[in-house]
Symmetry: C2
Amino acid sequence: MDAFLLIGQSNMAGRGFLNEAHDIDTSRIYTLRNGRWQKMFRPINPDRSFSGVNLAESFAEQYSIKYNVDVGLICCADGGTTLDQWKPGGLLFDHAVYQAKLAQRTSTIAGVLWHQGESDCSEDLYSTYQPRFEAIMQEFRKQLGLYDVPFILGGLGDFLGNCSVSPKVKNYAHINNALKSIAAGNEMTGFVSAEGLTANPDNLHFNAHSLYEFGLRYFKEFDRLRKTDWDHDHTDTTDIKRSKIELL
Amino acid sequence: MDAFLLIGQSNMAGRGFLNEAHDIDTSRIYTLRNGRWQKMFRPINPDRSFSGVNLAESFAEQYSIKYNVDVGLICCADGGTTLDQWKPGGLLFDHAVYQAKLAQRTSTIAGVLWHQGESDCSEDLYSTYQPRFEAIMQEFRKQLGLYDVPFILGGLGDFLGNCSVSPKVKNYAHINNALKSIAAGNEMTGFVSAEGLTANPDNLHFNAHSLYEFGLRYFKEFDRLRKTDWDHDHTDTTDIKRSKIELL
């Protein structure tokens, strides 16, 4: 089983309306429940009563098809959370690390999917987003031995410019610049654009259709990074996985 | 916040049909999600796609009314699991302990609700249920510092005698005898009878109405044990809680 850790705020938790979910092949997709892998069922990240379709669903479907393996999702995203709430030693960080450690007993973590930033759109927060995020990412990599796996960071949607629920999110472009800069400046870290994706009527949350598309984009970027890694190491993916297991 | 840890198999996870749920006041009931307390929403223990109404819902409602406090539920039950799967060092035990430790950062654990045994109804398993359970309970108490809080054990339903899904559960009375013996032989450990309670059409899972009633019975037994503790210590519940916090 190849596993992925999902962390971030509501758009990583998934708020696509369940009755608008794409019909995907879930037969090889699992989620971690009570430390054990269970067949995927929606919502995969039940952080709130209104949790819904998640971008990792189409990501996992593509992964299972391309690599012909079962995929496990460790769903630890939490709606409305700020970057500072994800600091090492906090509840969200410690919870996610422990879930990932349980998953590592029975799987290999192949990547981390991150989407967050809407809660950090005020000037004092977006201006320091990069160093604060990098410190958190480094600690996730360290505590979980994930030095050589991709972290994929998704951009915020342009629809935030029309969001009346939370006026500060109009500054979303600053977060996107920070995310791009993080991806450019760190090994095995990628940025995925949300350009053209659309939202629920709240203009805050990606809709189910766009989450499906977003998951495909996350996969494309993941695959690009893994391929880069493959070229660099002159080794095949089996060896990459073996080295990961030995690290843990 | 006073918290309760829910552990066991499917009838602790809750399989009452959601459209048959009693209308209870959930305003003071929370569940732990990603290490943080969130307003209760059903299903509270989403271990499987068919998870439903849970007996802790009416338990928590009664508790919040009687003690005038918010109640937090740490939902770690997992369907179909055997007692041996709950051994210390296993995924379920370690997951539940870590969830409880996260909860202890922001609440006081006031009790543990257990319902399990259907998966241990074969003769080789029910005959050794008591010592195996006691070892697990002792380790939960030790790792979480829960020496002076009630463990409430619920009995298996008489409808299991008519269950065709799992023939071995016809031996359920042996598990009930073991549970009664555990409660009689251990401090702050109580047994709650399932007498008269009824099931879903599967004759395996308590229905929503019976889970409501079962939660009231769990609360009555919890209250009896806490009252006994109160009499013994000649102290009030505030002091009991304070001593618990100091233990942790």
